[in-house]
């Protein structure tokens, strides 16, 4: 049984179809990359899955359960968590307390268990040094990891990562990819939205491409990078070429 199934999910804002009959499925422990130009509907799709938006049409099935109409906190408690593109730490609280909230509320743990879980998660993501700092005062990579930690603490089995690597330098990206690998190994499935192609190519089992609210391609990273529609809409020839694709003229070196 797939961990997540989206069937014909549609979300309109007035006359604009931000997400237009999108269907896909995700298997357990799979990492699905989602790419596309800005405004393609990636974040909107995430928001529909997590319950911030109610889809106008379609259904979302998580672990066999229809979650289409559920509220975000209910979806989270069922095991589906999301990080935000625009990071929103609980600013006046410490890093530790931020993650603790995920364990207490999303993870539905008692305080004693939540404290233990929080320590574990903080160590996993490498935030031990920043543990007691105000979350508004830590570096950008640390804040990214805090977003991730808070989501992990909710005991999620599926994570939606919305540009969790934005603002990282190449070294930090490598560290982040290593962390995602560890997370997948622990049994968690991921859908990763990124603009950093090197990262997406490296980590994804499959890639899905969105443009204007519609899925225009889906397949292995190699297939997607060679797809003409994807090249036209998003990648451009040079990038496709650089990533090992064939390009429009059928040449590669």
């Amino acid at each position: 049984m797939p961990v997540l199934e989206c069937k014909n999910v549609t979300k309109n804002f007035g006359a604009l179809a931000a997400v237009d009959f999108i269907s896909f499925s995700l298997e357990e422990r799979e990492i699905l990359g989602m790419i596309g130009p800005n405004g393609a509907g990636k974040t909107t799709l995430f928001n529909c899955i997590i319950g911030i938006y109610k889809p106008d049409k379609g259904r979302i099935i998580f672990e066999g359960r229809d979650i289409t109409r559920l509220k975000p906190h209910q979806v989270c408690r069922l095991g589906l968590a999301k990080t935000s593109q625009i990071m929103e730490p609980f600013r006046s609280l410490t890093v530790f307390e931020n993650v603790l909230i995920g364990a207490l509320h999303g993870g539905r743990m008692k305080m004693a268990d939540a404290l233990v879980e929080t320590e574990k998660v903080i160590e996993l993501v490498g935030l031990v040094r920043d543990r007691d700092k105000a979350s508004s005062s830590i570096s950008v990579p640390a804040r990214r990891r805090l977003e991730l930690a808070r989501a992990l603490a909710t005991q999620a089995r599926l994570l939606l990562l919305d540009e969790n690597m934005a603002g990282l330098n190449p070294y930090e990206i490598d560290e982040a990819l290593e962390l995602l690998g560890k997370i997948r190994e622990s049994g968690i499935s991921l859908i990763v939205v990124e603009h950093i192609m090197r990262a997406i190519m490296g980590i994804s089992d499959r890639i899905m491409v969105l443009n204007y609210g519609v899925k225009i391609a889906e397949g292995s990273p190699q297939e997607v990078v060679n797809d003409e529609q994807v090249i036209q809409a998003y990648l451009g020839e040079k990038v496709s070429h650089y990533l090992g694709g064939i390009g429009l003229h059928g040449n590669h070196d």
């Binding site: 989270c76 730490p89 609980f90 609280l93 995920g102 509320h105 999303g106």
Partner: protein
């Protein structure tokens, strides 16, 4: 500070403070001093109620006085019309406030920011009008409208009311204790900082907000009931007066919103200040109090507690 240290510190301070305050009536023979202390305790309770709801969540409630008024009327009507004794009436005041706070909370807490403030304020004003016009509209004799209700005089002295208010304020303080370092408290703070992020982290924001709102309403109701019995005569304009809301807000702001000590410091400071200035400068004291409030807010926008925490790095929670 960590949770364990906090717990120990709290109980030590609380026990010392409770014992000290409880003995005040025995250490002063002045009725005047006793009344001042009673008023301070009363306002700590009131400001604390506003802090529980608005201080922690940041949802600025502009109608908390409505539950105070409901409580006053519940006790007044219970005692005059139904011959109930005082203590059950005061408890009834709390219960009725809770029953009304539930539907009101569910509806108004969907609103944010200024809209929430307006809606809660509107509800308070509406309630005042209802109590004023109900009897005349329906041809009954229940609220007595603008005539007001006179409560039976029980022959209790100031000391009795001192302990009544003290008991309720202890309750409010204990709720604060229960909030700090708890799942509920973290939920409140998360809602304040980033409600959207809180939702996707699994916080049942509606449930958490409602719980704070109803908690606050209960204590306000009981305080209203005790106050009614103390002053023995209530009118709608008096017990539903927005001035009480304003005082709760200012005291909490001065002391520090969303902190444990905030309402205590703010209420004590403002009450004592008003009293001292009021006796010394009878004509101008309101202006002076206003000026002092503005100055304090300008110098210490996070209130006394917040500013001390910032300057010295000590965390009081």
């Amino acid at each position: 500070m960590n949770s364990q240290a906090y717990r120990v510190k709290f109980w030590m301070c609380f026990i010392v403070a409770s014992v000290a305050t409880s003995l005040v009536p025995f250490f002063t023979s002045s009725e005047y001093i006793l009344r001042i202390v009673t008023v301070v305790i009363f306002w700590i309770g009131m400001a604390g109620c506003w802090n529980i709801m608005s201080g922690y969540t940041g949802y600025i409630d502009f109608g908390p006085v409505v539950y105070f008024g409901i409580g006053s009327y519940a006790t007044a009507i219970g005692m005059t019309k139904y011959g109930m004794p005082f203590f059950p009436s005061a408890v009834l005041s709390g219960i009725i406030s809770v029953l009304i706070a539930l539907p009101i909370g569910i509806t108004t807490l969907r609103l944010r920011g200024a809209y929430f403030a307006i809606a809660t304020f509107a509800f308070a004003e509406t309630m005042k009008q209802v109590v004023l016009e109900f009897d005349r509209t329906f041809g009954v004799s229940f609220f007595q409208g603008s005539h007001g209700i006179t409560l039976p005089i029980g022959g209790h002295d100031n000391t009795f009311f001192f302990y009544c208010f003290l008991a309720v304020t202890f309750g409010v303080i204990l709720v604060h204790y229960g909030i700090e370092h708890s799942k509920f408290g973290y939920g409140l703070k998360a809602i304040h900082e980033a409600e959207g992020a809180a939702e996707i982290a699994g916080v049942n924001t509606t449930g958490v907000k409602l719980r704070a709102y109803v908690n606050s309403a209960f204590f306000l109701g009981v305080l209203g009931g005790i106050e009614a019995y103390w002053i023995t005569y209530i009118t709608p304009g008096d017990v539903f007066n927005v001035h009480k809301t304003v005082q709760m807000v200012i005291m909490t702001l001065l002391g520090g919103m969303g902190t444990f000590l905030g309402p205590i410091i703010g209420a004590s400071f403002l009450t004592v200040l008003s009293e001292i200035l009021g006796t010394a400068f009878v004509e101008y004291y309101l202006i002076m109090v206003g000026a002092i409030i503005i100055t304090v807010i300008l110098i210490m926008p996070r209130g006394v507690v917040g500013t001390i925490e910032e300057w010295s790095g000590i965390r009081f929670h």
